[in-house]
Amino acid sequence: MSALLEVNGLTKRFGGITAVNNCSFEVQEGSITALIGPNGSGKTTAFNIITGYLKADSGSITFQGKQIAEPNPATLYRSGLSRTFQQARIFPEISVLENLIVASGYSWKGLFGARTTKADRVRAGEMLEEFKLSALADFYASELSYGQRKLLEFASVLMSSPKLVLLDEPTAGVNPVMIETMERHIRARHAAGVTFLIVEHDMQLVMRLCDPVIVLDHGAMIAKGTPSEVQSNSQVLDAYLGS
Amino acid sequence: MHLVIQALILGSLTGGVYALMASGQTLIFGIMKVINLAQGAFVIVASYFTFSLFQMTGLDPFLLIVITTPIMFILGAATQWFLLRPLRPDDAAELSLLVTFAVALGLEGALSIVYKTTLRSIMPGYENHSWTIWGYQVNEVRFYAFLLSIAMLVILYVLLQKTKFGRSVRATVQNPMAAQLLGVNSKAVSAFGFGLGVSTTAAAGAVFGLITPFNPGSHYDLISRLLTIVVLGGMGAIGGSVIAALMMGVGAALVSALASPIWADFTFFIVLLLVLLLRPRGLFGAKVRGAL
């Protein structure tokens, strides 16, 4: 296994607060890596930097062996790095089907072409099938439940056939059944060769699903290892319980 | 050199007047994310109130601010409650632009029915007095306005930083949903905040009526300036808008006196565009925690 994503010495300050502090870690190809840490430990900030939403003050990011000079969300997405958001960001005023098509990373030629081509509908239809959302295809996304929105967002970022998917709390705020569903979909896609980097607060899920687990505190990595290693790490316990 | 210094004095004093108007505008934007296109019209309404009250009572226009401030507060709060509150939250930002523009038109229409379009001035007798200091002219009314705008800023600062209301406002600004969960009545806060923002026009209107002849249509010129000040200062940053207002006043005065008045506003617009290009948040629109 080689590193699909390498983060080196990443630092980001907001005013006086250092959100990410000289942080380095890597995500091995084919892994489901978890990124955990207490609230405010810099996980989401790290996500935002990796996916080009924020500019780091210093540090470098390498994806698929190439250093990303000017991180830009759209270019990264097209080159195989997808992400979801904590709050399940979907496009409420277009249909569920179109939510998938719009995320298919179409070319310039495609941009001027039909809103939904037959090929689009087939591909998006398959994805909906996989996520059991076919019945909702023509609903406005705004008509979906929160859990369904999370599924839809996950499904949509797979439309570009990504190598690496960053999931920001995929199961936050959804019911236990939906957590299982989500887990099943992650596993299925993992089996199909997708690498995952997951920020998650549900420790049971992390323990079941992920290896390795990276722990951040105050914007820096404090531990890395298998779930059980991390669980027994005293520094991690301190971070969660103390200070 | 004399001319440059005189222009600096004139510009800062004028800037002070605009700062007074813009502080309320900024407050409203800070609290509700509403760009209030009616702020200029409210200033003119206050000018007319002051004008009429002065005609009736003969009291000093600056004293009348005590009477007009609550009136403007009620007008503002009512506008928010009846016209802005019912808007759907997802497109409230866009719609409020149009609603406040309609309010501006309505106020203009109402004023032109009551007062006609004749230009008026508030003339207590000292409106054009100036002190001569080392050969420089300092206009009294503008100087008072300058002091008034500083006082207003201090009051706003205290209100926002030191009172319970202020904490609710700041909570609402930062996270409306969370504030609501914590028991802040964000609807009331919004109405109160809008009223507060509009109530600053009472003082601004009195000053405006003293320094410039006005009619119901005068708000168009005001609003374009207020908007640029608020944007330049950083939307929602009251301190920033004061500095922006001073920049505009001084810049316009210098360009007018030394170069040509036809390019005065243009220069300011260029500055605005450059600032937005380099710093889309405006000069002071950094990650400010409160409205100040």
Binding site: - | H2, Q6, L10, K116, T117, S121, N128, T212, S256
Partner: protein, 414 residues
């Protein structure tokens, strides 16, 4: 408020009366089947005025003048025995609406005659519509150079001269002074609009030719609310004479700035705004008006034919006092009297006759004896007036002056 409502009602009732009268007369005609009845058909005149929007002030003043004339002419038995009715529509100071209004007046309402709009900026688009349909276009407002460059033979401007020549009489006066007591230096502060700036430029050309040095010359845009920076620039040059090419609010703002900056030129001429007997003292205080020069075509003390009668019937209709009558009302009234005179002279009232007839001879009106060149530019001149003792007085030309010019200008009262 009260005033405007009652005025509104009054207007409604006149319209209602006119409508009723039209109905009665047409039904009479149709029942009698009288062929000669064409003469009894009312003469309808269409006018679009800016009753709302930026130009609403002069628009409403013009409306008063037009309405007064209609009432007066009907008292005199109408034009050639035809009762005169006037359709006044609002263009809300919009150029689109003014085109619509004149198109509607001519092709929908089918009025017999149209007269000009207020403001001046709407004159050219309106005059083009009138010309297209062969209508005469007597207009009391648009007197800028571009109006006459339109080369529209149907157009007649009802003021003594092109607006931009309004200041020539001030130049005449200054240059009539003995060389020793003439100003040596001059400043020009001009509003950027089609009339004010060229007017000041005309004065400047005359002054420079006579050796009066230009020490300051700037144009300011119409949204300039604060004139103090500009006036501080003027004051720094301390010119003997200040020529303000002004419109309305800016004239007041200039004066306020001069008072605040304690700058008092020996001669102060303001082209417009200062000529308003009502607004100028209200805006700057009566005491501060003393000694300000301006030019006028009509004012209550004017000696032009018909002025006393005009004032009398104006006061009977609108109340108030003579000092408060806007010259715009007199200009609009004069436009109407021209029609009367054409009808009287030729016995006909149609557009071709109006155009042909007005191109010859001289026509007495409230704003002086008018005659026009081929494209409607009047060939007379304005009067120089000055604020003396709280009212406007003619001070030049000397032969019709009511008072000698007061110079140097007294100090500001503050």
């Amino acid at each position: 408020m009260k005033l405007s409502t009652s005025k509104f009602l009054k207007r409604r009732s006149t319209v209602a009366a006119a409508v009723a009268l039209t109905l009665v007369s047409t039904s009479l005609i149709s029942t009698l089947g009288n062929a000669a009845s064409a003469a009894a058909k009312p003469l309808t005149i269409g006018v679009s005025l800016s009753l709302t929007g930026d130009f609403a002030d002069s628009g409403t003043a013009a409306q008063k003048g037009y309405k007064l004339w209609v009432s007066d002419v009907n008292k005199r038995g109408g034009i050639l025995g035809r009762k005169v009715t006037m359709k006044v529509v609002n263009d809300a100071s919009s150029p689109d609406q003014v085109v619509t209004n004149y198109t509607n007046l001519i092709t929908q309402t089918k009025v017999d005659i149209v007269m000009g709009p207020f403001s001046s900026l709407l004159t050219i688009p309106a005059s083009r519509v009138a010309k297209r349909y062969g209508y005469s276009f007597i207009e009391p407002a648009g007197g800028g150079p571009k109006v006459f460059l339109e080369k529209n033979p149907n157009l007649f401007f009802v003021q003594p001269a092109a607006t931009t020549k309004g200041g020539d009489v001030f130049a005449d006066y200054i240059l009539s002074l003995p060389a020793a007591s003439r100003p040596k230096t001059a400043a020009y502060v001009k509003l950027d609009d089609p009339f004010a700036a060229p007017l000041a430029d005309n004065i400047k050309a005359r002054f420079e030719a006579a050796g009066i040095k230009t020490v300051y010359d700037q144009t300011y845009p119409s949204e300039t609310a604060d004139m103090t920076p500009v006036i501080s620039g003027v004051a720094a040059k301390s010119p003997d004479v200040l020529v303000g090419g002004t419109q309305t609010a800016d004239a007041f703002a200039q004066v306020k700035a001069m008072i605040q900056l304690k700058f008092n030129p020996k001669w102060l001429y303001l082209s417009n705004g200062a000529s308003s007997p009502l607004e100028f003292p209200k805006a700057i205080g009566t005491k501060n008006t003393e000694g300000v020069f301006t030019s006028s075509d009509w004012y209550p003390q004017s000696t032009a034919t018909g002025t006393p009668a005009f004032i009398k019937s104006y006061l009977a209709m609108y109340g108030g006092n003579a000092e408060l009558i806007d010259s715009t009302s007199a200009e609009a009234y004069s436009a109407g009297t021209l029609l009367e005179q054409v009808a009287k002279k030729t016995g006909k009232i149609d557009n071709a006759t109006i155009i042909k007839t007005l191109h010859t001879g001289s026509w007495p009106t409230l704003v002086g004896n008018l005659s026009w060149n081929a494209y409607g530019e009047p060939q007379g001149s304005y009067l120089l007036t000055q604020w003396i003792g709280g009212t406007l007085k003619t001070v030049f030309p000397a032969k019709i002056a009511q008072h000698a010019p007061v110079a140097p200008k007294p100090a500001w009262v503050g």
